[in-house]
Symmetry: C2
Subunit: 204 residues, 2 copies
């Protein structure tokens, strides 16, 4: 039985490219495509694919959030994250939200087909390059509390401890404590390097 495949990506070129790459694969049945999250969800109300190739950079909501929603509503669907970016944070978030695979957009036809087949059996597929990234980075597992994120944002906006304290109706010492904890969590020497890495990890 053919694997029913659906694709959600806002790039026509990529949709067309994948369609073209897979058109001679009889074991894969092309169900169609959506160019945004909303129409993807609309499609799923009527049809149930086996595998969804899902871009991360969607125009309405991110593929990461969409992945979560789809898996909650339709747990039987296997999702493969599709992205230009070989970024650990994306891969992790995607996998945490229930994705079964992650493929970069520079994947070859063979790789793509393998990913779809592996994932359709309920297994996990991560492309070689992406896997390398996961192993190379010693995990940037920085978990911030709500308050810490808030304070971090205000610091990045150029506010001093004093100003932040007034804004949040807390004591300066409390703000200093949060700052202290942020520096420790990021293993940063000072605010400059903290902001830099926070921006890189897209935590601001």
């Amino acid at each position: 039985m053919a694997i029913k495949l659906f694709i959600t990506d806002d790039h026509y070129m990529v949709i067309e490219g994948i369609h073209s790459l897979l058109q001679n694969e009889k074991q894969i049945e092309w169900m169609g495509h959506a160019t945004n999250a909303a129409s993807c969800l609309a499609f799923l109300k009527q049809y149930l694919p086996d595998v969804i190739l899902m871009d991360i950079g969607l125009p309405d909501i991110s593929g990461i959030d969409l992945c979560k929603e789809v898996k909650e509503k339709y747990p039987s669907v296997f999702i493969i994250g599709l992205s230009t970016f070989n970024q650990l944070s994306f891969i992790e978030k995607m996998m945490n939200n229930g994705a079964s695979g992650y493929v970069l957009k520079n994947a070859t036809r063979e790789e793509l087909i393998e990913a779809i087949e592996v994932v359709s059996k309920g297994k996990t597929y991560i492309s070689d390059e992406a896997a390398k990234t996961m192993n190379s980075k010693p995990e940037s597992n920085i978990l911030l509390t709500r308050r810490e994120k808030e304070v971090l944002g205000l610091i990045a906006d150029g506010m001093t401890n004093n100003e932040i304290a007034q804004k949040l109706f807390i004591s300066i010492t409390t703000v200093e404590t949060h700052r202290k904890n942020l520096l420790a969590k990021f293993d940063a020497k000072n605010i400059a390097s903290l902001i830099k890495t926070a921006m890189q990890l897209q935590l601001i």
Copy 2:
């Protein structure tokens, strides 16, 4: 006479997608593709296309640099920048380096064909969305000197004025002056907001 088209992009899906989108267009002749800058240059030693679709995020050197090189060696070739990103800095750099057009990867078939045809006549084509970006942004015209960039980078790496002074063999007061000037140029209140905006403008 058909427009001879070559494409340089490291994503097979995109190459295949464009190929597929254009396969029925008789006025466009598909010459082939390269997945990196080196093989693009190698191809150009033997053949001369009319138009090159050039991705910005190439694995070896950036499409921006490649664009410059190609235009210097083969001025008759018209280049269309191709990117996922609707970012002013990219568009500007690409155009400054001699590109004749800029198209986003979510372009439709019609848009793509129009771009190729317009550009092949020596005119300029910028996709609607990209044009919007160019107009919407009031230009972040922050010009840094070499030294300022250097100091900015070191600050972002978490170094103190003292450390930077030692590293660059200059006085602390000089570093402080650069810092002062950086804050003024960015109109930033302190280093935290400076780093944030510098990261956003990709100056680090």
